[in-house]
Symmetry: C2
């Protein structure tokens, strides 16, 4: 992967950079919306493009189970299948195995059963949350799946350490992640291709020395980029910010750095300072569907507004004064949108999702401008 | 209401006509999508406009309960509140009282209770399906509500006769509808305005003489248009077609005729032949959300396709060859859309809804062209 730093901030680790994919050039810092099952919930590719997104994320766990990577391959790859003109990153599926895969519904008895996610050195056994069928993800298998999906950037399998974890448990879990990362790296050397890039993942829970060790080890392997995992599993902001500070200076400057599953606008600002280039999160759309939007006046501090509150019932204002999103530009009022959210009307969720996505994309656009002009 | 017949077919009762509203000129025959709570489920005003719709329908029952007609009035009326640049028709709420209002959930015990919808000569008592609160709709009250909503066309309160009904029951029910229609007409004469138009509703169940009598009586009152009710409550197509044939020749030619709650493409073709000018139905969007789309090659016969069927999993075709809807023009495949529908992903529902709505609008556009050029 060609990763080019266009401008390095003098005051922090922040940098403006760009990399090329088979589906276009991406400038960083960048935020990637999540198209979990092959669509950003309720939003069209056209709308994503209009907001300014050039790369979005797909979830391997979901797409592997339905419709299946073989079908997607047959349909010409993920980008073509979902009619998305830009680039895509897929996760390894690991995170979902450890969260969604935990339980499944027995279709005969209708009971919720523990899927007994079982981790061995070989890989991780889990049962589909859809039908209870048994599956094995190995470092090699998830690469094969993502090769079939045809995403531009693929992620290695890691063990997403539960939180909280003891030092011993976090260390053992990190060592397994490293073992898997090495196997993935070796497998990619033999079976990889030049169209796709592969990123390794740093783990190590909330322990400084483990995070540092992991950052060093993962950086030593021949990955195209380095991701930081396990920071969005309930560790809290303080720990997340600590992890960034610990590993920011260690991560190799010549590779893109991706903070997985983050985040809120403030987290992106903090991440960029610590040299993070890429972010993804379901939060902007998930919050939006429940009626919560972000607003800001200074692009440094952000406010969450819960539109279901009574005071918005007759609020004739748009979501955010001066906002450039299509919801605000079309003049939809808080009163109307809050009504739709109360009614659980899909169109209301669309209007708020567009706003939150636009806000995050505009934030990274502003960050890029600020780095470029030495104002960051 | 200025209603102008532009062309009368020589072979049938079909006619090309137009009428003016405070929110634009409407050509008929026309199909009106349903914006139940103030939005066509999942679809933007911009998209409706792009399809070609100039008038949509809002539901008085829903909007009265939430957010309330007083709030909508304060926000500048329904069109402004929902940011719709075209015209709107509101129903009287009667149909929903008799269907949705039947049961409600007791919020304390969580039980589903019978709301004991109670019809008296004065009006109809019902309990909100949302919170069990008690309400009375009278012919005068629903006019006041719709005046506050500010719709371009408002409907009188009728009793939606249950199906099946005995002759005696249908006759009594029709007589109540007539009594209410007269009261509505008188009330409108004193309290109406020139910005809004008011339509009466023909009832009479499945009985020829009752339907004829009702058509004559409602036509004798000073309404701007005549609607035909009670044909979408499970009477079946044969009865619906019979009703149209019975009353088509009776309805006053100088007023618009509106077949309520219909319908499927074939019903629209049949309705137009019998002099129907206006149609509305939740079917295109409801079917779409469950994955069923209409296709046609000749615009005379139509096929329903259930995209959840297995054979569409790897179907690379668009929904309908040559289709002009934005879903088909953008190239979304049946394979992708069927995947999204299986996943209950909102974006899939959007894609199919747009297709079905476009198809119905294109059908009435073609009908108008055909009448205009004597091909109907």
């Amino acid at each position: 992967m060609k990763f080019k730093i266009l401008k390095q901030s003098k005051k922090s680790l922040a940098r403006l950079a760009e990399f090329e994919t088979a589906h276009g050039k991406i400038q960083t810092p960048v935020f990637m919306p999540c198209a979990t099952v092959g669509a950003v919930k309720g939003i069209s590719p056209e709308e994503l493009k209009a907001i300014g997104f050039k790369i979005i994320l797909g979830n391997t766990y979901h797409l592997y189970l339905r419709p299946g990577e073989k079908l997607i391959k047959k349909m010409g790859g993920l980008q073509k299948f979902i009619n998305w003109p830009g680039a895509m990153l897929t996760d390894s599926g690991g995170f979902q195995v450890f969260s969604l895969g935990k339980n499944y519904i027995d279709y005969e008895t209708k009971e919720i059963k523990d899927s007994l996610v079982k981790v061995t050195n070989r890989g991780v056994w889990f049962k589909s949350h859809l039908d209870g069928s048994k599956h094995l993800f190995t470092p090699e298998k998830v690469i094969d799946i993502q090769k079939d999906l045809g995403s531009d950037i693929l992620m290695v399998l890691d063990e997403c350490t539960e939180h909280p974890a003891t030092y011993d448990r976090a260390k053992k879990s990190m060592e397994l992640t490293h073992e898997w990362a090495k196997r993935a790296s070796d497998y990619w050397k033999k079976n990889g291709n030049k169209k796709q890039s592969i990123f390794g993942i740093v783990q190590g829970s909330t322990f400084k020395d483990l995070r540092e060790k992991s950052a060093e080890y993962i950086s030593s392997l021949s990955f195209d980029g380095i991701a930081v995992g396990g920071v969005s599993v309930g560790e809290g902001k303080e720990n997340m910010y600590n992890v960034m500070k610990w590993i920011g200076p260690i991560l190799p400057k010549e590779k893109p750095h991706y903070l997985m599953g983050i985040g809120e606008p403030e987290d992106i600002l903090e991440g960029v300072k610590n040299g993070i280039d890429m972010f993804d999160c379901v939060l902007p759309t998930r919050l939006a569907r429940h009626g919560t939007i972000w607003t800001t006046t200074n692009w440094k501090t952000f406010k969450k507004i819960d539109l279901r509150k009574s005071l918005f019932r007759n609020d004739k204002k748009i979501l955010m004064p001066g906002c450039g999103c299509s919801t605000c530009k079309a003049g939809f009022t808080r009163a109307y949108i809050s009504h739709l959210i109360r009614e659980k009307e899909m169109f209301g969720m669309r209007l708020t999702s567009i706003h939150n996505l636009w806000l995050l994309n505009h934030l990274v656009e502003k960050i890029r401008e600020d780095i470029s002009s030495d104002r960051y």
